[in-house]
Symmetry: C2
């Protein structure tokens, strides 16, 4: 792991993980001193982290009172996927319009690696490549703003994805959908790229719901 980042950032990521993983439950109070002692740091970096987490919506801070974990439900994750569905569509559309040759090349490379991993049955390593594909797509949209919001959401549901993608069947399907999206972008077919990216996310939702909402 990247070790030369500031304590504040490390604490931020750590607490976020602990919230997303459920270590800290809904409405639990996060005390600066307690967390600081646990992580072996002073209150200062912890405070910074908590303030950041509030902005992410994972924590509510009541002034002079404390920081409380904002619970997030399976419904919330579902909502995020729906939002992402729209935004990934827009992203694919813009990528089709403005991706540079280098960005396209990067996408092709990730695609090739993914195919390789699928062939070899290394489904676990596909999670990381799925990450990379989407991140690269965000960059290819050419929009700083869109990239920023999608990155956020992407990370938000990372935990959910880690649990759902390793289902081998879905993983192969997902890879196939990536291929089609990439083809549409290569052809500069904006409408098609948007529709496919949209559908890709909707399929991911279904997969998630099947596992967690039992619909």
């Amino acid at each position: 792991m990247d070790d030369n980042q500031s304590l504040g950032q490390r604490v931020f990521h750590r607490i976020r993980e602990d919230i997303l993983s459920g270590k800290y439950g809904k409405d639990e109070e996060l005390k600066e001193k307690t967390i600081g002692d646990e992580l072996g740091v002073s209150r200062t970096p912890v405070r910074e982290a908590l303030r950041q987490l509030e902005l992410e919506g994972l924590v509510t801070i009541i002034p002079n009172k404390g920081a409380y974990v904002v619970g997030f439900s399976a419904q919330d994750i579902h909502d995020i996927y729906e939002i992402r569905s729209l935004l990934e569509g827009l992203c694919a559309r813009w990528a089709a319009k403005r991706a540079t040759p280098e960005q396209l090349e990067a996408l092709e490379e990730i695609m090739m690696l993914s195919d390789f991993k699928v062939q070899r049955g290394h489904f676990d390593q596909l999670v990381e490549l799925d990450n990379k594909f989407h991140q690269q797509l965000y960059e290819a949209s050419g929009s700083k703003v869109l990239e920023h919001v999608l990155r956020n959401y992407h990370h938000y549901v990372e935990r959910a994805r880690k649990m759902t993608l390793p289902v081998p069947k879905r993983s192969v399907e997902s890879n196939e959908e990536h291929r089609q999206i990439l083809a549409a972008i290569r052809d500069k077919d904006e409408d098609q790229a948007e529709v496919l990216a949209n559908r890709h996310m909707m399929n991911t939702i279904q997969n998630f719901d099947r596992l967690y909402l039992r619909k």
Copy 2:
């Protein structure tokens, strides 16, 4: 203004305003001590604010080096409006599906007030009501996540809106569009609500572009 919030939050809002208003230009270095001295506070609240601003994408922090203003262009604002167009559409759709009677009532009330202000020609006071209408709509979506992201963007472009909405003609149009969206929500016509909210935002984009991108 709300005065009983923490210094950190006040500094956060202040610096954000100063970035959005252009007081701090692109790539400008924000030094903790300098800002602290200007605002009459110590470095601690300033640091907290800068860490939060980084998360919002307004500032880049290079560890051990400094915080730098991330410039945002008219293109960025345009992008935000396009993103909002999709999300406001989704929001209206969900509001049509799940708005409570109380939330509907609140929307009706804002609508009525807006009509009144239009009739009287008090276009300046419509900005605030436009705010309220959208904020209430976000709440009516029943999705914490969607509400969160839309609030963010809404505030982000607040400055742009303050400059574009007071154009009386647009202001009347906008009010009319709100009325139609509200009607669709009242009728629980999800598709119609989405389309109208979508179009509403697209019209806002056009108004913005006409003024700032000269298209």
